[in-house]
């Protein structure tokens, strides 16, 4: 047994080293970016912990699923079939429209839009830093994901990938204070930027001049500028406009289209191929 009062290194020195290392980490983390091998392997290091912490939730949800009655399952099946029928009817139209769109684009001499590569991911329910809005998904570098890819759900834009490990990665939600999404108003094609405010059901439009034509109920879709989000996905709907002439800009608030507080399945999109842009 060691002596109670015999210490090898003084506490002050240890604290000094720890503080110094932490400051190096904080600065290094803030001022470098990109998915380097160091970051990926560090994120991979905690993946088992995340999967383990998610386990109780999986067990409970599996239990709840197995306890569903036959009638519930039958009625759910019926509802899904009806939904699928309606959607496949729309899909027939969609195929016709995409063909027509391609022809028209060919006539105009602009490049054809290509379908993106995509992958379905599931959310692992684990606790995250209370100061930021983010979720963990069960896909990572093994599936070919990389930092900055766009993430959507069945309704609209959710956010983008930030920290990628080999089997898990983090999605920064569009409502986080550090996130901004380039959008345009669907009605009149005016471009603007949507910023997160740290509230799960509200975002704001930044630097909107008083004269901008924006109305309550306007749908904001991604503009494709900035290169992270592909064009045309719904982002938010304008809910509140405050045109106070005393302030330099009009305050416009919107509500995200995606149900960010109850998402479970997500779609991760790849960026459009580089050669399409260069051939333009």
């Amino acid at each position: 047994m060691k002596l109670m009062f015999g210490r090898t290194v003084s506490l002050q020195l240890r604290l000094f080293v720890a503080v110094l290392l932490s400051i190096v980490l904080i600065v290094g983390d803030k001022y470098t970016q990109g998915s380097t091998t160091v970051r990926t392997s560090l994120n991979t290091l905690v993946s088992p912990l995340i999967y383990l912490a998610n386990l109780p939730y999986e067990v409970f949800s599996f239990g709840a699923k197995s306890l569903q009655t036959r009638e519930q399952l039958l009625s759910e099946n019926e509802a899904l079939k009806q939904k699928q029928l309606l959607q496949s009817e729309q899909l027939q139209q969609y195929q016709f429209l995409t063909k027509e769109n391609q022809k028209l684009r060919a006539l105009l001499g602009s490049s054809a839009k290509q379908a993106n590569r995509k992958i379905i991911a599931q959310i692992l329910s684990v606790h995250s830093n209370p100061y930021s809005h983010q979720v963990v998904i069960n896909r990572g570098a093994i599936d070919g994901l990389s930092e900055g890819q766009a993430v959507i759900d069945e309704m609209g834009v959710v956010g983008q990938l930030t920290k990628v490990g080999s089997t898990t990665s983090r999605v920064l939600l569009m409502t986080d204070t550090t996130h901004a999404t380039p959008v345009r108003i669907l009605r009149n094609e005016v471009r603007t930027v949507v910023e997160g405010m740290g509230k799960i059901n509200q975002v704001k439009l930044s630097h909107v001049p008083h004269s901008l034509d924006v109305r309550i109920g306007d749908v904001l879709v991604t503009s494709g500028l900035g290169g992270t989000f592909p064009e045309g996905y719904p982002v938010a709907i304008v809910t509140e406009i405050n045109r106070d002439e005393g302030s330099p800009f009009a305050q416009v608030y919107a509500e995200p289209v995606a149900q960010l507080d109850r998402i479970r399945l997500l779609v991760v999109l790849w960026r459009q191929q580089q050669e399409i842009i260069s051939s333009e």
Partner: protein
């Protein structure tokens, strides 16, 4: 012999890590105590020659990685908190459990304010009094953690 003690301490820290990552119902989420810091504090008071600032720094880094905060924030705050407890362990040990709980509450307050300052500096977050709920719940859960870990320590004779 040495490694057995460290392994058992590691097991308790591992459980605390899982507890702090586990999903909670939305309404209870703001009240989650900082399990890991509480467990680290207990060990730094009980066996300060085994668990020290170095361990706190590594565990803090793990928390940073697992909860997606900017790297180094929890390492820094954990190290400072454990420095305070480890340098005063002889005094704090002699207090009664309730006095200890109040002191732990003060440390937790300090921890959360440091966390907020760092996050404010790095990510421009704004203060929300909700961020301080874990101080209260942590203070209230200290006696139970203390008694549980003391039983654990005595049962396995961790010295």
């Amino acid at each position: 012999m040495n490694s057995r003690h460290s392994f058992l301490i590691g097991v308790s820290i591992f459980f605390a890590l899982i507890m702090s990552l586990m999903p909670l119902p939305f309404t209870f989420e703001p009240f989650r105590p900082d399990w890991v810091l509480l467990v680290l504090m207990y060990w730094s008071l009980a066996v300060p020659h085994r668990l020290n600032i170095g361990t706190a720094w590594v565990v803090g880094l793990l928390i940073d990685l697992a909860s997606g905060s900017p790297l180094g924030v929890n390492s820094l705050t954990f190290s400072i908190c454990i420095f305070v407890t480890a340098s005063n362990f002889q005094k704090i040990r002699n207090f009664s459990i309730w006095q200890q709980a109040i002191l732990v509450g003060l440390f937790l307050m300090f921890y959360h304010l440091m966390q907020f300052w760092l996050n404010h500096f790095l990510m421009d977050v704004y203060f929300n009094p909700q961020y301080l709920w874990p101080v209260v719940t942590g203070m209230l859960s200290w006696p139970w953690i203390f008694l549980l870990l003391r039983k654990y320590r005595r049962h396995f004779r961790i010295r």
